[in-house]
Amino acid sequence: MNEQGRPARVGGGALVTRGVDEAGVPDYHAPMIENPPPPIVGTAHPRLDGYEKTSGRAKYVDDLTFPGMIYGRTVRSTVARGRIRSIQTSAAAADSGFTVVDYRDIPAVNVISLIEDDQPCLVEREIRHMAEPVLLLAHADREKLYGAEVVTDVEESPAILNYEVSDVELKRLTISRGDVDAALAAADVIVEGEYRTGHQEQLYIEPNGVIAVPENGGVTIYGSLQCPFYVMRALRVLLGLPDDKLRVVQAATGGGFGGKEEYPSMLASHAALLALKSGRPVKMIYDRGEDMLATTKRHPFRVRHRTGVSRDGTIVALDVDILVDGGAYTTLTPVVLSRGALHCGGPYRCDNVRVQGRAMMTNTPPNGAFRGFGAPQTLFAIEAHMERIADALGMDSVALREHNALRPGDTTITGGTIGPDGSALEVLREAVTRSDYHAKRAQWRGTNRGIGLALFFHGAGFTGDGERKLASRAAIETTATGVRILAGTVEIGQGSHTTHAQIVAETLGLPFDRIAVEHPDTDNVPNSGPTVASRTCMVVGRILQRCSTDLLERLSGMDPADHFKQHGPTRVEQEYEAPLGLHFDEVNYVGDAYGTYAWACDIAEVEIDRDTFEVRPVHFTAVQEIGRAINPVMVRGQIEGGTAQGLGYALLEDVIMRDGGMANNSMTNYIVPTTLDTPTMDVVIMERPYRHGPMGAKGLGELPIDGPAPAVINAIRHLGIELNELPATPERIMEAVCSSE
């Protein structure tokens, strides 16, 4: 282990710097045992599913088959809004091999149960968006299945496609603190700005897919998914079946990024209906075009800032108006708006705050979860806005950020308190020094190179009281060889199984290879909540750490395998415990919205071709403080991968909507970064342990996608081009250049 505060090279070159909390003692201890094994936490254990994946043996849902399996197809609306007069399927009527399902086949309630329960599983009469599921077909022969003609007679009606003119509100919230109007009136300078972000497609390389198998008087779902228990809940409500008739098993999942948070509930519902009606296993795998057309995307945001500052750079008033495109149904939009609003002030102090947020309905496919969950949109806005404030004051923007950055003990926009692990200044200073930011800023002015910075934070775990309400559970159990972890969160590439095993191994003082991880199967694992919100390591890992401490006591010094041989399996299950004193008023938005935050500073170096207006990221510095790197290789992977996605969001990824549907729904025309579009990256992992995280760990998964877009936009601003909208495509850059000439 390193000496405190001294940087050390680990994980193939990422720099880890370590600090301790204010009490001077990290909030983690290995158990007291003789001849302690080498530390497990903090080392780069190879991922548990590594060889399965590199050898091609890992089974993703499309790799599975079942005896008698047939294939399912979704018939979708081709208009954004309308009323179905009739549906006819003559081909299906003529061939008894077809199974046809419409809303009348739903045994209980025609709804995909989530927050508001307003989204039907299948349209009855009213079509509310393009590509909405209307009818389901299944057949053993895929050519017949896709060849079957379905004639839908629809009375089309005018659709609301622009959220800025929509008058149907899905959710509204207000954050209010201090006296904004008085502070604005007294401010030396008021800086205004409007910022826009578009849709972003998750573009996991494995499209959505499930298999539903009728068995045991109910149905089992095998699927590519993030949240097995969300699917359980959706099926329970839709089918009216008790939990013991329902089972959800995660297949190896080829990326999620939020795109397999809520959508698999819809897809699993469809497959389950076909399986129950046909009595046969039904496989439904979307092709890329259907996946992009029909499934969720990141919410477009319009964020307006009116900021009062005093001459010395102090932000005295923050007035923010947030407008969100929710799409046709509520789905997760209220929570996305909430997280967006809670991050909209950036990692800065301000005592007078007014945030008004509204999410509007449009007749477009519902927008949904995507890594960052509202925060990338509002952090883009505030971090682009900070450059304008700096310019308005004639101040260096790093100095402006330093002056206002949240420090331990400071108050957030909702009146919460920043804990001792608050690291805004540390990440900022490290990134600025490391990248030689100021020198490059001066040298490159007027050239074709630009450098830009973003300082940001990300609240870890569910917002507000969410974790308390989830009351997640996880367990460990002795086995003949050691211990098995039982958790309902899933491995989707982030390395959570490996990370959990490291936490448990270290707490128990066992070698890493004596920890097994049970496959997420709702029959075998407790509900540990969804695999979202950067919570799997911090929240579920913490529960597992507590289980391990508890088991240690029960074993009273005995090896778990020996204990198993004498007593059979011993299982310890624990429920989430909220940190003492953590409270949030979800109605008035007052209190600690998150237990803690991870902190980061990104610096983008870009190059422009002034003839073609192409901007390419050349080098990227990411300094990210995440409490404790349980596995530095996984951590670095999250930071580099999230950064690349964020760079796509910044420069390339443009969802083009026409008539309420995605027009460029192919990988040829929706552009994500290739090797040649991704810069070299200098990653620094900083550690300031969080008292309530396992071994000090905080949430990490989403943090890295928050910074690249504002860092890039600020680098482009350094080139003399001001943009307020994502993505910064060459076409938009050209418009900005031409309009300023």
Partner: protein
């Protein structure tokens, strides 16, 4: 895959002569080779063709050679082979540059020069190069061969002078006199479709061609004439603006294409002066 496979027909000739015979007998067949475009269409269910004739692997269509001061490529020469060829590097480096920017390695290994030509996409990356190189296409038919200048090959959007039963056997390029220049502006740095693609030769007879700005690749004759006559850069650019008619599509805008075409023309003029 949206297109049902079972109704499709694939005819597999044993030789090029056999292919010509079969094709002449059934001109409705669609020739396929590297399939990098065909299967995209089949996957999306947008390709109407049902019957195909497979040219892949016919030895008569392979190879790069220099014959009598003419560089000759068999129609099935892949982009990878073009990139790796010493003759191409020496004679026609702009073609190697264009092929290097077509898709990734996987596509370059399968995509062929004749395929790029026959597919006739206005965004085809090799097409402006062939236009300014004044390539000649050797078109073969059961009844005989003819040579058609590349610049007379297209008659409209994905429409060509190919007659029923006729195949592109080879591409011939005479020695190019002057500095060669190529620039593709794609939707990203790799695996990208051109938003604009331009090739130029600066020699005694300047030549310039642009893709993705009209229904076919465009050879800019008026622009070349202006340049040869010593017109100012502004006048040369003005001539170009009269010769291209870009449109808005899901990859870019007409305005962007116009502006960037002009900028790249100026860059060509500056870099090859």
């Amino acid at each position: 895959m949206k297109t049902p496979i079972s109704p499709l027909e694939l005819v597999r000739p044993e030789s090029f002569e056999h292919a010509l015979r079969l094709f002449a007998g059934t001109p409705s067949l669609t020739p396929i080779a590297g399939c990098t475009d065909v299967y995209v269409g089949l996957n999306f269910g947008t390709l109407k063709a049902q019957s195909f004739i497979d040219l892949w692997g016919l030895p008569e269509l392979v190879g790069i050679e220099v014959v009598d001061d003419v560089l000759r490529f068999g129609g099935l020469t892949t982009h990878s082979e073009l990139v790796a060829s010493a003759e191409v590097q020496e004679w026609l480096p702009m073609l190697a540059a264009a092929c290097r920017e077509i898709g990734g390695v996987q596509i370059q290994n399968r995509g062929t020069l004749a395929g790029n030509i026959a597919n006739g996409s206005p965004a085809g990356d090799t097409l402006p190069v062939l236009a300014v190189a004044e390539a000649v296409l050797v078109l073969a038919h059961q009844d005989g061969e003819r040579r058609v200048p590349f610049n007379e090959f297209y008659t409209g959007y994905r429409a060509t002078v190919l007659r029923p039963g006729e195949l592109i056997r080879a591409i011939e390029v005479p020695r190019v006199d002057g500095k060669q220049w190529f620039r593709k502006v794609g939707t990203r740095a790799a695996q990208a479709i051109s938003k604009i693609v331009i090739a130029g030769v600066r020699g005694p007879q300047p030549r310039i061609a642009v893709g993705s700005v009209a229904p076919t690749v465009v050879r800019l004759r008026q622009t070349e004439t202006a340049l040869a006559a010593g017109a100012s850069d502004d006048d040369v650019v003005a001539a170009m603006m009269a010769e291209i008619k870009p449109i808005d599509d899901i990859r870019s805008t007409a305005e962007y294409r116009k502006t960037v075409a002009a900028n790249l023309l100026r860059r060509f003029l500056a870099e090859t002066a």
